[in-house]
């Protein structure tokens, strides 16, 4: 695959108003590329693996930035950088899970420019797809990652359907655990979608990672007060401590009633094409205390139903161990 030092000839728009950005997104449709921090953009373009006619840079749209109080919790503009999220006092106090997850994204340099919207909406991390091969996800008729000799150590163990790529977003798991809502705008108006439904799998949308349609822009993320100040746990296991994607990560929110778990969210990253909720674990720990016994009972449920590929069986005990660690008192 050829790689170039220079960017391809592409129109660059830098709107200052959301309405202008939406109009441009509508005008270019599939040929438009919504640009946040650009960390999932420039590689695609320099490798000439994607060919948008226009880039619509959201960094000049002030309304897409910042962290605001809302009626029920907080609202984070989609163009807010990960660094701002990590350093925000309110988020650290009430939604530490998101701060922890954002703090494990890539590297400090990338977090300085990378945005929440970009991290959530980034494309699949699969060697073969990223190389520009014409796989299912690229509209082709084959999966290069699911074969006897394929390199699929990083790939999915749940909910694969032809494509076996995983969701690479660290903040996605935290936001699903926090029952966040995504605000999506287009020239036709605004819609909200639950974080869990924002991410889509290959069974229904094999060429997309999110429910964003051409012409739509993720404008904000709303986090309700439901889980504010609760007990959180986030851990990401990767080959490198920085600048790497999760082999498996876990985001856990627990509502405690004294010593027992009244309600919880266990969400794994790196194991499916979408953030993967461990519903059986959530049911198993309800009413239990944080203890080694509860952890041992719940952990095996994490990997139930998994269908590992040739080289990623290790993800199953890893998921189970992350559940055990989350359950330590």
């Amino acid at each position: 695959m050829a790689s170039f030092d220079v960017m391809p000839d592409t129109q660059l728009y830098q709107p200052a108003e959301l309405d202008d950005a939406l109009r441009l997104a509508d005008q270019y449709g599939k040929d438009g590329w919504i640009l946040g921090g650009g960390q999932d953009t420039y590689g695609w373009l320099k490798d000439r693996a994607k060919h948008p006619r226009a880039m619509i840079d959201l960094n000049g749209v002030a309304t897409l930035k910042g962290i605001r109080e809302s009626d029920d919790g907080i609202e984070i503009g989609a163009a807010t950088t990960l660094r701002e999220i990590i350093r925000d006092e309110r988020i650290n106090r009430d939604y530490g899970l998101l701060a922890s997850a954002a703090g494990r994204v890539a590297s400090p340099q990338i977090r300085n420019v990378g945005t929440l919207g970009g991290n959530l909406s980034q494309d699949a991390r699969c060697w073969y797809y990223r190389r520009g091969l014409d796989c299912y996800r690229a509209g082709g008729n084959i999966c290069y990652a699911d074969g006897p000799e394929a390199m699929n150590r990083e790939h999915a163990v749940f909910n694969a359907s032809r494509c076996v790529a995983v969701s690479p977003s660290d903040t996605a798991t935290a936001l699903v655990a926090l029952d966040a809502t995504m605000v999506v705008a287009s020239v036709d108006g605004e819609r909200t979608v639950a974080a869990e439904d924002y991410f889509v799998g290959p069974k229904t949308h094999i060429t997309q990672m999110t429910s964003l349609e051409p012409g739509e822009i993720l404008t904000a993320v709303r986090i309700p007060a439901t889980w504010a100040g609760k007990r959180f746990f986030f851990e990401k296991v990767a080959d490198r401590d920085v600048w790497d994607f999760a082999l498996v990560s876990i985001a856990v929110a627990m509502s405690m009633d004294g010593d027992t778990i009244a309600d919880s969210r266990f969400v794994c990253g790196g194991v499916a094409c979408t953030p993967h909720r461990l519903r059986k674990v959530e049911s198993a720990v309800r009413g239990k205390s944080l203890s080694d016994e509860s952890a041992e009972a719940a952990a095996p449920l994490a990997s139930q139903g998994a269908k590992p590929l040739n080289y990623n069986h290790f993800k199953l005990p890893l998921m189970e161990n992350l559940v055990r660690r989350a359950m330590r008192s």
Partner: protein, 252 residues
């Protein structure tokens, strides 16, 4: 407009990826042009008196054949919806429905082939010289099936066998509860299989449009009724068929 779409394989060689789905619109437009032309020509022709559907009845389709026809129609309908809708942008979890309907169609077709060779006369569907004269000579009437019906059956047979054969190969390339997928085919071969599946699907779409149109035409409705109820009247038989070439039993 291209007939096939192409891609580069993992070695950088250009190989066929499948049919060009732009042809879908061409097929639909072409089918509707044929239908419109036929409807206009038919409207300008003087129509004879419609035979009565009352009176004595003769059997045209056994219950088992009618059941087969409608099972096949239902499975083809599901296959088209699940196969074509995602291509035109209506995305949903289609894959399981598609291969299950494909298996139903395969079983139905195998059953039909066995029944034709074991319990029926497979020559009923052979195109003969007299069949080809019938459209041009009003004194020549067909046996059980007209030349158009036999031609349609032949075309549907070829395309259905192609779509099933290619579909079964594609079926082996996906995970199912029955097996894990095999990536055994080269990309070029797989592309050819996708192409055969796609092009035969497009052919079937065109034929299905024509089939539904003719099934709903007023002078042909008695055939559609016979595919539901099994019988046609003696009058309809006399007006449309040569009793020397087809002597059906009385309808029960």
């Amino acid at each position: 407009m291209d007939i096939a779409s192409y891609k580069n394989d993992v070695w950088g060689q250009e190989v066929i990826r499948g049919v060009s789905w732009d042809l879908l619109w061409l097929v639909i437009v072409a089918a509707f042009i044929v239908i419109a032309l036929h409807a206009i020509i038919s409207a300008t022709r003087k129509r004879g008196e419609k035979p009565s559907s009352g009176g004595e009845r003769v059997s045209r389709h056994d219950a088992i054949d009618r059941a087969y026809h409608w099972v096949m129609a239902a499975s083809v309908f599901v296959l088209l919806v699940t196969g074509i809708f995602p291509i035109i942008g209506l995305e949903f979890g289609w894959l399981e429905f598609h291969w299950i309907a494909g298996l139903v169609l395969t079983v139905a077709v195998v059953f039909h082939i066995l029944r034709v060779f074991v319990a029926q006369d497979w020559r009923e569907m052979n195109l003969s010289g007299d069949d080809l004269k019938a459209p041009f000579d009003e004194s020549v009437k067909p046996g059980k099936y007209s030349a158009a019906q036999k031609g349609m059956h032949l075309a549907v047979t070829v395309l259905t066998l192609l779509v099933i054969a290619s579909g079964l190969v594609m079926f082996a390339m996906i995970d199912t509860p029955l097996w894990e997928r095999s990536n055994a085919l080269s990309e070029a071969t797989l592309g050819l299989v996708f192409f055969i599946h796609g092009i035969s699907t497009l052919g079937l779409i065109g034929l299905i449009c024509l089939h539904i149109y003719f099934a709903l035409r007023p002078e042909k409705l008695f055939y559609t009724r016979s595919m539901i109820k099994g019988w046609i009247s003696r009058d309809e038989l006399a007006a449309n068929h040569d009793p020397q070439r087809w002597t059906p039993d009385e309808a029960s």
